[in-house]
Symmetry: C2
């Protein structure tokens, strides 16, 4: 096991009817920004519950319209409002995109210098951030209980992740009933996202961390078991609750503590979203099997363990095949051609971008831009 | 899944050579109490590492001699020192007993009224507590990352547990190398303690919490797998690291979030320690199979799941038998007679005490004092 520090101070309030708990947690003494997305929270009643809980707040400002893959440009408009109104607490209500935007806004609010350097330095440039809380309505990113954020920039077609211990939410309310009104595709994407978060922290090489392995496998087994019902019965509280809690545990730093991590599937996937606009989960479903096959020898021992424990599969190859079958069963294509994307073009674009940045990927840091191009070509 | 709140703010610093990390975390601006036990930390070098890390602290006071099953009387002597020296931070260096004592001292320091009411009210009487940090040297109780403490009172032969969110350690340093010098029996006890902590939160009835089940089973599987090597090779870093992290995850509130809990084995075990002086783990090994057999019908579904997933056992009965065999293989007797304790006498003493307190136990709250007597009689 590697040495590690684990510190996750976010308070989770989980369960049906818990949104009112924000009343006791959002500070009344400072101006607050209520941040949300495209307005689905107004249709599903969540906005009403939040407003009711905060009806006595003397300085509640609103900023709506955060998009999927939240944009730097949008966030900076919110930062302007934060500065104008002297806002000192952000309440994010929505999915991972709203959460990620809230983190960037919280980070940029008091930042001296170009705020884009926050993601460019992966968060290292960050000195302070406003406190934030969340009401989560879409389980997927784990953003409700971690210090991660991913921000896109329209002008340059960039999508960059940053991490800072300063942007963990102070609290996050997780009411599984808020997911009942989600389009099924978003639930599907959230299940795939969560699965992929586990894999990036687990599917590397044996690292004498058997408990982390068991937890990672436990999240994946649970996601696989719960997916059919969570997708088929939109108002099934129990399966949505299980999915929601699994999504949080998939990326709250716990299973990744003390073990090597990969994240190449995410890094390549981010570029596919940046260039072609695919949903995040869609990119991951396409890329993951390619990374596994390209890195087959280095990942073989862990693929075997995963296949045996999760799928009852007899080989590393079978583990990859079972994973592809599972993704396809969820309606997620595993090939670029399914999206009409020319693999050669994608490979060249992304190779060039990684070469320019000097990016190397994988748990050994040895996946070169040329390797990335090979991986993408194999996903035609 | 039940509604729950999960909030574990303790920072874990885990790994070899990490004790020096306390230098950046123990506040220099207030008087600090260094609390420890019987002096083993002076023999194994931990005390030296702690003192070296804090060599520049201007007001470091020491209190040694905290015993196993820490006594109220001892803690109150430390509270007197805390008040005299105006101590505002406690650094506990040792195992669960030192941690538990630190929590009680932190809680009692500013408490108005009789401090014994803190455990008597299970912590509800607590209004504030001093902050504390820890260097853990004996994995077992999970006290390094929870708000639990168990304090005994010599005068009345009482052993009472309390919980408060105010006594989570601010940080805990876990260096598996500090366990190399432990007597093998203490490692054995720690493995059993951790196993039992999982069982109290897991072995109840199916509660539609499949992820919590998987995590609980993961801790148990890991403990079972790692136990032989952790016991046989005293300086094997990896097996001790796995055991240490498993012990923390066994009782840091995570696997118990959203599920029913039992704790009857612990409650009965505490009385066996209070009356007969058995080690905590020894009492649990004796009591658990009795609770399971007495509550067989109510626990049958979960026993079957546990047996199947952890032992490959084919029935609930086989799951109990495999557990008893495992405890015996660790050298832990599962019968009172092995300790020369008269089961009839123990049953009557503990029945009477629970009857006097009106105690009812178990996940349904329906295990009466008479049931407890039956359980103990069955453990002759």
């Amino acid at each position: 096991m590697q040495n590690f520090t684990y510190h996750n101070p976010t308070e989770i309030i989980f369960g049906q009817g818990t949104i009112s708990a924000i009343a006791a947690r959002v500070p009344l003494t400072v101006p607050v920004l209520l941040l949300y997305g495209g307005g689905s929270i107004k249709r599903n009643g969540v906005y009403g519950q939040v407003k009711a809980a905060l009806k006595d707040h003397p300085a509640l400002h609103e900023f709506g319209g955060v998009e999927a893959n939240p944009l730097f440009e949008t966030c900076m408009a919110a930062v302007a409002l934060v500065r104008e109104k002297k806002i000192r607490f952000i309440l994010a209500v929505g999915g991972g995109s709203v959460l990620d935007a809230a983190k960037f806004i919280a980070a940029a609010a008091d930042h001296v210098g170009d705020p884009w350097e926050i993601p460019l330095t992966h968060g290292r440039a960050l000195q302070s951030a406003l406190p934030l809380g969340a009401v989560l309505t879409l389980p997927a990113t784990g953003s409700e209980a971690n210090g991660n954020s991913v921000i896109s920039r329209r002008a340059t077609r960039e999508k960059l992740a940053f991490y800072s211990p300063l942007v963990y939410p102070v609290f996050s309310v997780l009411d599984p009933a808020t997911t009942f009104s989600l389009p099924v595709k978003q639930v599907r994407n959230g299940i795939i996202d969560s699965f992929m978060h586990v894999m990036e922290q687990y599917l590397t090489y044996p690292a004498q961390a058997p408990l982390q392995d068991r937890f990672a496998e436990g999240v994946v087994q649970t996601l696989v078991e719960v997916a059919p019902r969570a997708l088929a019965v939109t108002d099934d509280y129990e399966s949505r609750a299980t999915f929601m809690w699994s999504a949080t545990l998939a990326l709250n730093s716990l299973i990744g503590s003390g073990v090597p991590q990969d994240w190449s599937t995410h890094m390549i996937g981010h570029e596919l979203t940046a260039f072609y606009g695919l949903d995040h989960a869609e990119t991951l479903a396409v890329v993951l099997p390619g990374v596994w096959r390209h890195q087959f020898d280095k990942k073989k021992a862990k693929l075997e363990q995963y296949g045996r424990r999760v799928w009852g599969a007899e080989s590393a190859s079978a583990a990859i095949e079972r994973t592809e079958e599972w993704l396809l069963s969820l309606g997620a294509p595993v090939r670029l051609s399914a999206y009409g994307i020319d693999a050669k073009e994608a490979a060249e674009k992304i190779r060039a971008r990684f070469a320019e940045r000097g990016t190397k990927l994988g748990e050994h840091g040895d996946i070169t831009p040329d390797d990335v191009a090979e991986i993408l070509l194999s996903r035609n």
